[in-house]
Symmetry: C2
Subunit: 751 residues, 2 copies
């Protein structure tokens, strides 16, 4: 296959991109950074930090913008190609199983995360019952400076091929080899020098384009790079992506007007290429965009390729103008290559195959339709597959281009010295993997940046917090008026118990409202950690820290609304314990919901599960049935009931004052069969009892103190402070579980 | 503007549609139904029923398939055009308001229903603060046999123009006129002779393609048409839509494999054109489809047009081959016409305007890009708008074609006699509106068909019912083991109360799980009733009937699991009342959730609201705080609490046996301060009491019967049967509210 990267015959005559002229970064233009390139033979390269510093000095720190990207190589284009990604005989098959059928609203949305379900299975009839071949002996190569596009109908294996190249398929399942400059690609190295852009735009809706990219820069660029360098990189990227006009606009979502779909897609790409990767994979980057936006996205990809990257993408239906930007194409049909070559070779290929493309017709449309037609015919695409194989004039490994290639390590070093791959720090280790570190920043920096981002995003959506506060205040108001100034009578005791049980449950239920937000954030998290933007532990810690201020506020609002209105006991000290327990309950509840958001991927399912579990927690809390009456085989559930601990804590806070009396004299007959007896008779009864028991009980004698009530309710196993600590501990426990759920749940690979 | 319907120069050389040859319905081919055409001058047309019967006789009832559609006119194509839809100076503007910003998960999804938000506002900057002109003086015409496509960028007003023509904009707001054959189009007539296909495919996922179309036929074709005729119409439509291979496949959803996206779109179109409308409006029928599927959809539209309909659609990005199928195009830019004419006139138009379209370039892509470029330039598209106006060679009203047109009534009659518009029944009234009736079927037929469809769909998704049954059985099992064999002691009484309160709440909460299904169905309902497929009342009744069998089953499962295990009272009679009350609670709960699904459009919001309201219902039911202790200002909430009635019902069922004893002798001191006294002392106390009260109380004397407990709990205002009837009545009440919510909520028009 001849190189076609410089075949511009398909370029449409006009470009415009948000009406600003396109500034190309011409690789041929020499720059004054020659002194920075390292000697490929002895490996004596300066570190990336050093390199960037010297570049900065050369440019002068007062002119920081638009420079970082323009550090180009000083060699003319005809010298050995720095990077060639080759893949040979890739074959991947899966065992088909009967799909579990679940109702729509309860389905896991795994597909959002890119590792989608078997595509061929979706379109093909279920003729083969056991094994499905998703990729069948696919070979090809991609070079830096070029765009390789994978085309085909839905289910032809486009995304599977991208996943295979991006090392998103578990090692055992994929046969064949992928090499970069002739050397096998280690998973860890690939992760650092490449980026994978998912089909969905998973971004924080309330950050501006500039902020989004800046946060990405803070995560993925090393700390050795100064803040002004990072800003410069972001500004250069904004120009490269054609986002100058939208830089100060928020991303937006359904409820907030933001940037357009095409701009959002370009921001997504930007967040993934902030470190200027050597290989860029994209899964259908133009899906869902109109023709102009799609063209601009691919135009941006061309510019990225021309800055010295390999761009590999799947594309469904490229328009005429987009085809003009592609350098190589691979057409897939049911996992097999039916065409591989440049767009310009397409007409002679199909003409020779006996199906000439009519003039004036879009050649890819024609090709895709012809392939579809063949797929439906008895012989299938077999003839075309064979024809394509025989048509490859040169066996890959004898490619003369290959001879002059740099070794992988040297190529990476050379590329870094030209300003690529801003994320790693170079060192002189001979193992190319270790020339770049796994995370760009230390733990505490990640926590700080994550927290800052989360606070910024949350503060721009005050209505979310408003809704939660409103719910708390409404429930607080209803409870306060419903249980207004409870008296110290047997019925009042029962009502206090009811109030505490209901209040504690409400707190937990309110936490469930945050589930959709957590789930949305989780998708961003999955995207970012898939390529090591930050540690999972930083995320868990930052997530925990950020939630606390709002919990304090909500707890105070609830405690202040209800404590005095209901007439709870303990004065200021009692109030603060009540407030503290509510806060602990909010903390435990929010940790529980956070943990669930890490386990359950769908909002409706998560909400249903939370509501059901909380209902059972309430049932086993000791309110409906006291501990001493719970059947032995359910006692374990009583002890894992999250509601038990704050409930018993506030109960003890209310009733542990031994001087306070709840049943006095004749009130003792309330709620017993003797309640209906006239008071005079009750007093007489009291006297009789006194003489029988040998204790003097008058109308004012206290017969039931708080301690008696606690005894009756079986609240005897823990002190009130222990209840508080245990509630808080539950919160930490679920945060730790959340961390493990993220560790286990974010394996972003196919099996 | 010259007629271009017969300009086939753009036809691509090859067609294939699921690999079956296309069978065109040639309008020129005469048929043996000439005797059926009515005399346009005296209006003496037979009724549709008569017409169809005679056609049936002619064809013979034993050859029912593929005939209905082929009843073509006997006149050659050159005779007067039956239908010309003209629109003149359409102008529509809206007052802009600041959008309410709501968090994503709580937003109403009104957009799904087609009457979408102001499109220009979305893309334009907010320069004008008061009025936005969405359509600015748009004129044009569409003829039967042709496809009129409206093109433009997002926000150019495409959908608004379609809405304006389809009478989906409130009368006062839209200026200008729309006429059919020169006569103004009445709203009611338009609704009957036209169809509007929304962008979303709102179909029942578990029905096959054939079933979906057959149900549509049963709704929209008159009862006078025999079942075999309806079947024939469906079979003809399946062929016309190219769905023969998919006919027996279910539609499918995320959880069930079904037909492809393109096939689903064609089924959507099919359900709307089952009655063979004269005018067909489509909002972006190709959006979200790949190029081949999109082409096949437009190919189908061409066939529909050629069968004698006017097809008007908006389209975003037509491929080369699709352009070949279009007869007329209107390009919009910010609500103004920038081009109007045939695809073939596009190159000379732009050449004359000074921007010739380069050879080999897709002309619409070029035009759209040029328009976009002009929009960004200082002068805007003004020059192009003016150029387009001056370019219209003929003023519309002097169009010579117009002279030979039939009157609207005659044209409709003629069209019906040729087999179009299968839905109406003709009569000899001179008012064209009354030649077609509002609903095709009587009330009871609609109810029967709706119920049948709903049952079919539900039965194919047994997992949905399985999940609800599982939830009920798990909760039943937990309650049964938790409250296993409650004893008749004071604590046992309290636990019984807890059991009943928890059980009744569970029943209501379980109903909330059906919310997503109801919401999904509601979208289908909105689509179908928008064009009078059936009465809203039929839907409400059928919805109520269909839900009952599953409620009986769930109620029985819950009652049987818990009644004997907990040790409830009343034997078989008691069980049946318990079972009946649970069923009533399920009925009321499901009606309540159904009503909410009619008011709230978003699943998460609905679920949150249901959970919150049910929590308050439980709080006010009388369990947490008895009726006599509820503050006066909250008593009203106690009486509207849905949980109160079934809760009090089962309480009375349990405690109304006056011979049953719950507290006997010394048990009377349980839950009082005297509980801790030794039994011997208690017996002594009893004796003392006996003598004081003058009643003989021994260790076995009953001191508290069920009646006493009911008194204590304040359950005295209603008999148990009244509780049951009131619960059932609540169910009916919410069903009626549901009906009104549908009446008010389905106004599908812009203001």
């Amino acid at each position: 296959m001849a190189r076609v990267g410089t075949d511009y015959s398909f370029k449409p005559p006009r470009f415009f991109l948000d009406n600003q002229p396109l500034t190309f970064f011409d690789r041929r233009q020499p720059m004054e950074v020659e002194s920075l390139s390292c000697n490929p033979n002895n490996g004596a390269c300066p570190t990336l930090g050093e390199l960037l510093k010297r570049v900065g000095d050369a440019n002068g720190d007062d002119t920081p913008t638009h420079q970082v990207l323009e550090m180009e190589d000083s060699e003319p284009r005809s010298l050995p190609l720095p990077f060639v990604l080759s893949f040979t005989n890739l074959t991947y098959s899966v065992k088909t199983r009967r799909k579990m059928s679940f109702p729509t609203c309860f389905r896991w949305k795994n597909n959002r995360l890119g590792a989608s379900a078997d595509p061929v299975e979706q379109s093909e009839n279920n003729n083969y019952s056991n094994t499905k071949i998703l990729l069948n002996d696919i070979s090809g190569e991609a070079r830096d400076g070029e765009i390789l596009a994978v085309l085909g109908a839905s289910g032809s294996g486009k995304s599977t091929l991208i996943d295979a190249l991006a090392n998103r398929i578990a090692k055992g399942s994929l046969k064949g080899s992928t090499t970069l400059n002739g050397e096998p690609l280690e998973s860890r190295l690939l992760k650092v020098i490449s980026a994978y852009v998912m089909q969905d735009d998973l971004l924080f809706p309330m950050l501006t384009v500039e902020e989004t990219l800046m946060f990405s820069a803070e995560f993925r660029l090393p700390r050795s790079l100064s803040k002004s360098k990072k800003k410069a990189r972001v500004q250069a990227l904004i120009d490269q992506l054609g986002l100058r006009n939208a830089a100060k606009t928020v991303i937006g979502d359904e409820g907030h007007r933001g940037v357009s779909g095409g701009e959002r897609r370009r921001v997504s790409i930007g967040t993934d290429i902030i470190h200027d990767p050597i290989i860029l994979f994209l899964d259908e980057p133009t899906s869902g965009l109109d023709s102009t936006s799609a063209f601009m996205v691919v135009k941006v990809l061309q510019r990225i390729a021309q800055s010295g990257s390999i761009v590999i993408m799947s594309i469904h239906q490229p328009s005429y103008r987009i085809i003009g930007l592609l350098d190589r194409m691979i057409f897939l049909s049911r996992g097999q290559t039916v065409y591989s070559g440049s767009p310009s070779s397409l007409p002679p290929f199909f003409a020779e195959f006996g199906h000439p493309i009519p003039e004036n017709e879009n050649r890819t449309e024609f090709a895709l339709d012809l392939i579809r037609e063949l797929e439906g015919s008895p012989g299938g695409t077999k003839a075309l597959v064979e024809f394509n194989k025989s048509n490859r004039n040169l066996p890959r490994n004898d490619d003369p281009d290959r001879q002059g290639l740099l070794s992988l390590k040297d190529a990476i070093s050379a590329s870094i010295s030209r300003g690529k791959l801003v994320s790693g720090t170079t060192n002189n280790d001979s193992n190319p993997t270790s020339t770049v570190s796994t995370f760009a920043n230390p733990f505490w920096v990640e926590v700080a940046v994550l927290s800052r981002r989360s606070v910024t995003n949350t503060r721009r959506m005050p209505e979310l917090f408003g809704i939660r506060l409103g719910a708390i205040l409404v429930t607080g108001f209803i409870l306060a008026t419903m249980f207004y100034h409870l008296d110290n009578s047997p019925k009042g005791i029962q009502e206090r118990l009811g109030f505490f049980a209901f209040a504690m449950s409400t707190i937990f239920y309110t936490c469930a409202d945050a589930l959709p937000v957590f789930l949305q954030e989780r998708y961003v998290f999955m995207r970012e950690t898939a390529y090591n933007a930050y540690r999972r532990s930083s995320y868990v810690l930052s997530h925990s820290i950020v939630v606390i201020p709002s919990l304090i506020f909500l707890s105070f609002a609830f405690a202040a609304t209800t404590f005095w209105a209901v007439g709870l006991d303990g004065g200021a000290k009692g109030f603060f314990f009540f407030f503290g327990t509510i806060m602990a309950a909010f903390w435990a509840g929010s940790s529980f919901v956070t943990f669930l958001s890490g386990v359950v991927s769908h909002v409706m399912l998560g909400y249903t599960v939370v509501v059901a579990i909380l209902a059972y927690f309430l049932l086993f809390s000791g309110f409906f049935i006291t501990r001493d009456r719970i059947p032995v085989y359910w006692l374990w559930f009583h002890y894992i009931s999250l509601v038990k601990y704050p409930y018993e804590g506030v109960l003890q806070n209310e009733f542990d004052d031994s001087t306070k009396c709840f049943v006095r004299g004749v009130q003792m007959f309330d709620n017993t069969p003797l309640e209906v007896v006239p008071t005079a008779m009750k007093v007489k009864l009291l006297k009789t009892l006194s003489s029988s028991l040998g204790v003097n009980i008058t109308s004012t004698t206290c017969v039931t103190t708080g301690a008696d009530i606690l005894m009756q309710q079986g609240v005897t196993d823990l002190s009130k402070w222990n209840c508080l600590w245990i509630t808080i501990a539950w919160g930490f426990f679920f945060r730790i579980l959340f961390y493990f759920s993220l560790l286990l749940g974010s394996k972003n690979k196919r099996r």
